[in-house]
């Protein structure tokens, strides 16, 4: 049986440790729940402290647009000029076509949501340990919202930088396994978008007056209708605390 010192040592090392023994101790201890609440409040502030505003990438190239192998001799370039001109025109067409494809609001937003998933693979863990309510409240507060328990059990909650804004990134444990929810109050959509890319299937649904909601599941076999149903359930569980 874990004692208070062992419990506190563990949560000081990892306040979100899902070890069930910690929960058993907390539930049966008269003092440790208050200690835990104080630590989690500190943890919420610490997380915000580490996420200072940083300058946007702006015009600075994040990655080079050209291959670094460019460096052939001028003679070779002269001989290849005709081919280069042809290749350039083809490339321009491809780049323009690619840009238009990426600029389509729904698909590019979906692509960014999927790209964001790569950064937090640990969020997809199947678990029955909910995020402590104070931590969830901190994550949702900046988006002026709270979540009704009808949404399902939230096992992961972080405030993430997405397209220049801090947005809630949640994982809800559902009948179809863990499902990610991103509340995108800054991203308006004229209509719902379904997507299936990069091993994720999901929907982005417009939320009147509050941007949109992205809900996605992992795996090629994920049932999009079920995802859509969960999106509706989560949307119905959101309580906006300010406009």
């Amino acid at each position: 049986m874990m004692d208070c010192a062992q419990y506190r040592r563990s949560i000081l090392a990892d306040p979100h440790d899902p070890n069930p023994d910690l929960k058993i101790h907390r539930d049966g201890c008269p003092e440790c729940p208050e200690y835990t609440d104080r630590l989690l409040r500190f943890e919420g502030r610490l997380e915000r402290a580490t996420r200072m505003n940083i300058p946007a990438a702006g015009d600075a190239r994040v990655v080079p647009l050209r291959s670094p192998t460019a460096g052939a001799s001028s003679r070779t370039l002269f001989l290849r000029r005709g081919w280069l001109a042809m290749a350039a025109s083809v490339l321009i067409v491809l780049v323009v076509a690619g840009s238009l494809w990426l600029a389509a609001p729904g698909s590019s937003l979906a692509a960014d949501v999927v790209a964001h998933m790569a950064g937090e693979p640990q969020a997809w863990a199947r678990t029955d340990v909910p995020v402590p309510p104070p931590q969830l409240a901190v994550v949702l507060r900046d988006s002026n919202m709270r979540l009704d328990p009808n949404a399902g059990m939230v096992s992961y909650a972080r405030s993430c930088l997405f397209r220049g804004h801090q947005v809630p990134h949640l994982v809800v444990q559902t009948e179809m396994g863990p499902v990610t929810v991103m509340v995108l109050v800054h991203e308006s959509l004229p209509q719902a978008v379904r997507f299936d890319e990069g091993g994720y299937r999901g929907v982005i649904v417009p939320v009147a007056g509050h941007g949109s909601l992205a809900v996605l599941a992992r795996g090629q076999k994920a049932d999009l209708n079920a995802v859509r149903h969960i999106a509706g359930r989560v949307q119905g569980a959101i309580v906006w605390t300010a406009s």
Binding site: R45, V62, V90, E120
Partner: protein, 175 residues
């Protein structure tokens, strides 16, 4: 033609991945180096190295540890190249004041200054856990430590940080 389209899409996807990870990588580099200019250099160099080596990233789900490894190596290279001198902590905090400041929240600014004061051996695993969302095992793999050593550092780091912030630590356990 199809190969070229595939290549362009792949590059666009990789660029989107870089863009989405860049803010947190820059924050991580800043907490590691405690120097905004150096952090920007390190991240820019990291992106270039990542771009050149993108084919070695087989699975996008592994992108974050992949980038973290590059960034830590790049920071170590900068450290060797520039032979960074030890500076006074208060001077360092004053120099990075614009980054540490938090509009309308003095509490956060103080917490950031306290984080600056933590020794690197505690600051780095703490930032990996809190900012980057790394598990104990991931931190252990990145820092080449045992899980137990990581937990000890996290425990000590959080305890010191709370004390530096004037939190009530009277109920904190000893080691």
């Amino acid at each position: 033609m199809n190969d070229q389209i595939g290549g362009n899409l792949k590059r666009a996807r990789f660029q989107a991945l870089c863009q989405s990870l860049r803010p947190d990588l820059l924050r991580f580099a800043f907490w590691l180096s405690r120097d905004r200019a150096l952090a920007e250099d390190v991240v820019q160099e990291t992106m270039l190295r990542a771009w050149k080596a993108q084919d070695s990233l087989m699975d996008e789900a592994a992108a974050k540890p992949w980038f973290l490894t590059i960034i830590r190596r790049e920071y170590a290279r900068c450290f060797e190249r520039k032979r960074l001198v030890t500076v006074d902590l208060d001077e360092l905090i004053a120099r990075e004041e614009p980054m540490l400041a938090a509009a309308q929240d003095q509490d956060l600014a103080e917490l950031r200054a306290a984080l600056f004061k933590l020794p690197e051996e505690y600051r780095e695993p703490l930032v990996l856990q809190v900012l980057m969302g790394c598990s104990t095992a991931e931190i252990a793999a990145e820092l080449k430590l045992s899980n137990a050593a990581v937990l000890t550092r996290l425990f000590r780091g959080r305890k010191q940080l709370r004390a530096l912030c004037g939190e009530d630590t009277s109920l904190d356990p000893d080691e």
